[in-house]
């Protein structure tokens, strides 16, 4: 059992941050790696990339958006409650080294995953330009942390309620145009369409780009092949070959389709869960 030590609601309660006691994982985890958790005995196994670790305290932090039954169930847990199973760290860590100037682009909850990578890039001696975005101001997360982790931070909102009015790709293009060949690498993490369009922009400028893929997984150790994704025409397993891949080689179309493989079942599970919650609330 893995005890929840803190719970913080972000983005109007649509996103939750949990600090969880997991000393073995905290001691080992590096930016870019993920865990697989199972909330309770009847739960499914879902992967979540870690947003932070604290080896001294023996804790990891996960930040997740409530999108379905499992994340709703996770949100229902409070401080001192426990998550039944957590396995990790899994996947390859982000290769962090000094390259010069690096651009880190994050969208939605992807910013949570991007933050430790951004911090690592800066600590490695890179000049880090960060661009983060959300649909609207209230849904933006980790702005202060991203500001502290980078040399320059640009914020975008789709509706113009805060920062640049538009998409992260607009600012990305502008920065790449301005900095020319100075940018040695880009890291883009967020919803699949965002990563896809970021990859298109960086490809125009010939900047090597990494994306972190949130494929559906079961075991997370390369045993089942559920998370397969086509990269450069070859089938890769996101759990052991990734989760990060060369953005210019990833088949984003195939990935988006596989991500909704269980959409009808996910809706059904959510309905059953909401019904159960409603019944329990009524007593």
């Amino acid at each position: 059992m893995f005890q929840i030590l803190s719970k913080q609601e972000l983005a109007q309660g649509t996103v939750v941050a949990n600090e969880i006691e997991a000393p073995r994982i905290a001691a080992k985890a590096k930016p870019g790696q993920f865990i697989i958790l199972r909330v309770n005995e009847t739960g499914e196994r879902i992967p979540l990339t870690m947003a932070d670790t604290n080896p001294q305290r023996g804790t990891i932090t996960i930040i997740y958006q409530v999108v379905g039954k499992t994340t709703a169930l996770l949100k229902s847990l409070n401080v001192m409650d426990s998550i039944m199973d957590i396995a990790g760290p899994l996947g390859r860590p982000t290769p962090i080294e000094k390259k010069g100037t690096v651009i880190c682009v994050g969208g939605g909850t992807g910013v949570a995953v991007l933050h430790p990578i951004t911090r690592g890039m800066k600590q490695a001696g890179n000049k880090v330009i960060a661009i983060i975005g959300a649909r609207t101001k209230d849904l933006l997360i980790l702005e202060d942390k991203m500001r502290a982790a980078s040399d320059e931070l640009y914020v975008c909102t789709d509706d113009g309620s805060y920062g640049h009015h538009g998409f992260v790709t607009d600012v990305l293009r502008e920065q790449l145009g301005k900095l020319g060949g100075e940018v040695k690498e880009a890291v883009c993490i967020g919803p699949v369409p965002m990563m896809k369009f970021c990859a298109k922009v960086t490809q125009e400028f010939g900047v090597p780009t990494m994306v972190s893929l949130n494929a559906i997984m079961v075991d997370g150790t390369g045993m089942c092949g559920c998370c397969r994704v086509s990269v450069g025409g070859q089938t890769k397993f996101a759990c052991v070959d990734g989760p990060e891949f060369d953005a210019h080689q990833v088949d984003f179309e195939g990935l988006s389709k596989r991500l909704i493989a269980y959409l009808p079942q996910e809706k059904e599970a959510m309905q059953v869960y909401q019904h159960k919650c409603a019944c329990e609330a009524q007593g």
């Binding site: 899994l90 390369g222 089942c224 596989r258 599970a269």
Partner: protein, 469 residues
């Protein structure tokens, strides 16, 4: 001799089973087990050979005549105590061992009549013991102070754990999944091996003192060198299984509805997708199912799909029925349940709709050529002979490769060209203090072979822990 002749007249006691038309739609166990009277009758058929070939035929050399004799005499406690001396997993092995190729395959009675139903008797003794509360635990040797890490809680790892704990060593089993049992819980379906039985066998080992740590991914969360270093273990056994699904390598294999058998069975068994939405893990429904491959894993996948509610379930195998590698009993069960067999066909392309959901599969017709290295006649395509079948659920059960998670993070561990760990007959690897066995050494095999490898390795590890390298 007169007595022998009399015994041969008793026919082999059939195992009571669920009717095919009933069981094809439920996940309860197919064979129902012997009653005490049936077991005693069957045990009475044993000739009690002076030189029992059945013992030689068993990979862990269970003293079969002794436990069978005890069952016949009604001494069920004696029978289980005797089994436990040789086998930590009798309830599992009684169910899933291919006895027809092992103990029962060499039983003298089998020459003229049917062999003694050794597997059914082993299962009876173990199931009977599980229902008792006052059975003494087998004796444990004096503590040696040595600590052993077993990586992987499948049949091999559990055998090593059971053997070494009884020899007085401290044993911790590390399992990557959230439940112990390895292939016994994620792979073999409930209707062939109920999960409560695996849990009971693991619980038995825990009562002997074995520690089990789940969610522990060795190779990632902890390395083998750390187990031998800061974690303070004196020896390590790697019984991690093959663990890398093999795909066919044809177009369309990433479509939704195409599964590796590993994934399909893990979702169905370990995650209990057959109880969705009571359990949260889903599976693609599918009405027209093709399972590719002809081994035991293919049979498990076929029969699981049938129980998930599919009616049109086909086994597509590229060789003929003569070459089917699955156990006879499994094929027989599958056929009884309405599984169709489609021999001499191989997939060439999976075809999807606009949402990338599988809707059909194109098959190539094959014919048999010359025998290959495995001695089986190798299939070759008949030019121009292809057909397309309606198919919305495809399960690839053509074997597994070696998962590099541990071998890639353990310097000094030598692997062969397929990535399997190199180990000698005792399971000793090239890396000091590290033993390995089961599928990660031999490639995909059976539960009892993994247990047999575990037995040999446990003996070798015990010698090392007692006298040194």
């Amino acid at each position: 001799m007169a007595e022998t002749a009399k015994k041969e007249k008793v026919p082999r006691t059939p195992m009571p089973e669920q009717e095919p038309q009933v069981r094809r739609r439920n996940f309860q166990e197919v064979p129902l087990g012997y009653t005490a009277i049936l077991a005693q009758t069957e045990a009475g058929r044993c000739l009690q050979c002076k030189k029992p070939s059945c013992v030689e035929g068993c990979p862990v050399n269970v003293d079969i005549p002794s436990f069978v004799k005890r069952i016949h005499e009604g001494d069920f406690v004696g029978a289980i105590m005797n089994l436990w001396e040789y086998n930590s997993l009798p309830a599992v092995c009684g169910r899933v061992c291919p006895q027809e190729n092992q103990c029962e395959g060499v039983c003298i009675l089998g020459k003229k009549d049917k062999p003694v139903a050794i597997g059914n008797l082993e299962r009876f003794a173990a199931d009977w013991a599980r229902g008792q509360s006052d059975i003494p635990l087998p004796p444990i040797a004096k503590k040696t102070g040595k600590r052993v890490a077993v990586v992987g809680s499948g049949p091999g790892g559990l055998t090593v754990a059971g053997d070494l704990i009884r020899k007085g060593h401290e044993v911790t089993v590390f399992e990557a999944f959230h439940k112990p049992g390895g292939v016994l819980v994620y792979g073999i379906p409930e209707f062939r091996l109920p999960k409560e039985i695996v849990a009971a066998e693991v619980n038995f080992l825990q009562r002997l003192g074995v520690k089990v740590e789940c969610n522990a991914v060795v190779g990632s969360a902890i390395t083998v060198d750390e187990l031998l270093g800061k974690e303070g273990f004196d020896a390590v056994y790697l019984g991690v299984g093959a663990g890398l699904p093999r795909f066919v390598g044809v177009p369309g294999e990433n479509l939704i509805g195409v599964y590796s058998a590993n994934e399909y069975l893990t979702r169905a068994n370990l995650m209990k997708a057959y109880l969705f939405p009571q359990y949260d893990t889903p599976l693609v429904g599918g009405q027209h199912v093709c399972v590719f491959g002809g081994g035991n894993v293919a049979m498990d996948s076929l029969r699981t799909a049938m129980r998930m509610g599919c009616d049109d379930v086909k086994c597509v195998y590229r060789r003929s029925d003569q070459e089917l590698p699955a156990r006879g009993e499994e094929i027989h069960h599958a056929k009884d349940e309405g599984i169709q067999f489609f021999f001499l066909h191989a997939p060439v392309r999976f075809i999807g709709d606009q949402d990338d959901r599988l809707k059909a599969v194109e098959l190539q017709e094959m014919r048999l050529g010359e025998p290959d290295a495995s001695g089986r006649r190798s299939p070759e395509p008949i030019p121009g002979a292809t057909k397309t079948l309606e198919c919305d659920l495809a399960i690839i059960a053509i074997g597994s490769g070696a998962n590099p998670l541990i071998t890639g993070t353990t310097p000094g561990l030598e692997v062969n060209k397929w990535g399997y760990i190199m180990a000698d007959a005792d399971g000793k690897t090239k890396k000091p203090k590290v033993w390995a066995g089961g599928d990660i050494v031999t490639g995909a095999a059976t539960v009892i072979k993994a247990a047999g490898a575990g037995r040999l390795a446990a003996n070798s590890m015990h010698r090392y822990l007692t006298w040194g390298w």
